[in-house]
Symmetry: C2
């Protein structure tokens, strides 16, 4: 299906569609592509989970096009992709929304991906970047050590919605492989770890921890640590992901799935201490048990999501350390824009 | 959600719906339930993969009801389940059909299961038995040793359609858990290993091996062994599965997923030799490489699918040894019924 380099899409002069673009990663990627000279970036969103706030800073940009459309409606996708070079597929329900509405979640995460790939094929797009997740490695005690691209999917002890989410991402990835094999559609799968950064929303179960901690500290309450605080989290800064998305389009890579995680994992206790300090407080955390009825995702123990393969495939590595990224998030929260979001 | 014994459905006098019933396992289970005194067994099928031949021996049974319906049409399911006590959910695309039509496969294996669970909830069914698969442990070199219920899902090196199939079964299982948590719907998940037996069809990639071997030997051609023949297969006889389905309804078990495999695994070489002998020949097998373009599912090495947990949960264990089950299959193939199927 084409020789080396055929899958490269130069950003300057290129036209891109970001499906599910009115989002944390979508808005950052739109800005990244526009800054790199894209002729047009289409933000496609139905605004059921996306928000005007996420793209408020971009919406008057002359090369940005905003399309209100739905991944469950093929005509919307076909119209939006006509004449484009590449598409980034971000639209998805994460675990918390999957728990509330498994019907809508499987629609968007599976049929929505099929629709987007079918529209990409039909309109002759040259490359798709699919936003997958380290959720493809699952949850629970099996998830420990170094998580590499062939680590299997663990689900023992995880709540149904988390497994539905992880399995839906496995299916999305395989649909990309299927379209490559059947139709020659080039793709790169990026397995995002938990994203955080400016314009952070309240939807991701793991990233929520940062915002919850900040909000409590700002109210003068002790931040809460669940369990003993030794549990690992491995975040990635949104700007690093926006760069990964751009590089996935630019690189010759195709038919590959790689992890995109931050420089290193943190423990939840370290995370809570960093956020407390950056919020200008030295209040000690409170150690608490789990809240019944609330979906919390726990990992078995220490793990690290290896991102070395992403460097080999698309030349990417994360640049923003957690302390720096958190400082940017908190500066944004304390700015006028963050306060009104 | 109810104490011990609440999830029990006595077969005698009970009313059951078998969704995807015009099939190998469906027809055997219908006969099993009718023999045990079920007041009514509804075979629900759209006959796109199911066949009249599969239920020809049952269709004049006075307590059997045949409904032509589709799992993608809620009214069909709601009508069929009205007044029933339990439903067995069998309707699914397997890997070969998933490769041909991933759209239809994800419809049936995911939305079809959601529709069936929603219809079961709406009509007040007391228990659902969901036919899952050892495909939830995946494929490739990771799948070896003892496969138990918490073995993770391996997918390295597997073709997209196989992973789509396995992940769709993971999702089906989690939808059962989700409906139990949200709506109290009792369920048992049975993870079938590859089924074989009378009224064997030509659809399952693994079971096909038995029929292909038999057909070649009967034509006087050498049976083919792919690779060195040391690869493990772990089949289960259809009658053993029909009994497992019945026992899953009868038992107090709920909210559980267990393996239902045959007494022991065989190597492909042993399997080919057994079929050759039972077909009345002593022709030596031919060792061949893989056929390009054909989906073949390979496992890494020796494995056994442990079924001990099924005994603990529903009191079941497999009774029919491979040689005996193959003899029954071949006797059926050589009978008038088998010849005209």
């Amino acid at each position: 299906m084409g020789g080396r380099g055929m899958a490269t899409i130069p950003i300057a002069g290129g036209r891109f569609v970001i499906v599910g673009g009115a989002s944390l990663v979508g808005s950052a990627t739109a800005a990244e592509l526009l800054d790199a000279g894209a002729a047009e970036v289409t933000v496609f969103d139905n605004f059921s989970l996306g928000s005007d706030a996420a793209i408020a800073h971009l919406k008057d940009h002359p090369r940005l096009r905003l399309v209100r459309g739905d991944v469950m409606r093929m005509p919307d996708l076909l119209d939006a992709m006509k004449g484009a070079d590449g598409a980034l597929l971000l639209a998805a329900y994460m675990t918390l929304n999957m728990d509330r509405d498994a019907w809508g979640g499987l629609d968007v995460n599976i049929r929505g991906v099929q629709n987007a790939l079918e529209a990409a094929r039909a309109t002759g797009l040259r490359k798709v970047v699919f936003a997958s997740s380290n959720a493809v490695y699952g949850y629970g005690p099996g998830v420990s050590g170094e998580l590499v691209e062939n680590t299997p999917f663990h689900s023992e002890g995880a709540p149904p919605a988390a497994i539905l989410y992880g399995a839906s991402k496995i299916i999305g990835e395989q649909l990309c492989r299927h379209y490559k094999r059947k139709h020659g559609l080039d793709y790169v799968v990026l397995r995002y770890s938990t994203v955080y950064g400016e314009r952070q929303h309240y939807r991701a179960a793991n990233a929520l921890y940062i915002i919850e901690t900040y909000d409590r500290v700002k109210r003068g309450e002790a931040p809460r640590v669940f369990g003993d605080g030794s549990e690992t989290k491995h975040f990635v800064y949104v700007g690093d992901l926006a760069r990964a998305n751009r590089m996935a389009f630019e690189s010759a890579a195709t038919d590959v799935a790689v992890n995109t995680s931050g420089p290193r994992p943190v423990t939840t206790l370290d995370l809570v201490r960093m956020v407390t300090r950056l919020a200008g407080s030295d209040i000690a955390p409170e150690f608490v048990g789990d809240t019944p009825g609330q979906v919390r995702l726990t990992s078995g123990g220490a793990f690290r999501i290896a991102h070395e393969e992403a460097h080999r495939a698309i030349g990417w590595k994360p640049l923003v350390e957690m302390e720096e990224g958190l400082a940017r998030l908190i500066a944004w929260k304390e700015s006028n824009e963050g306060k009104t979001s």
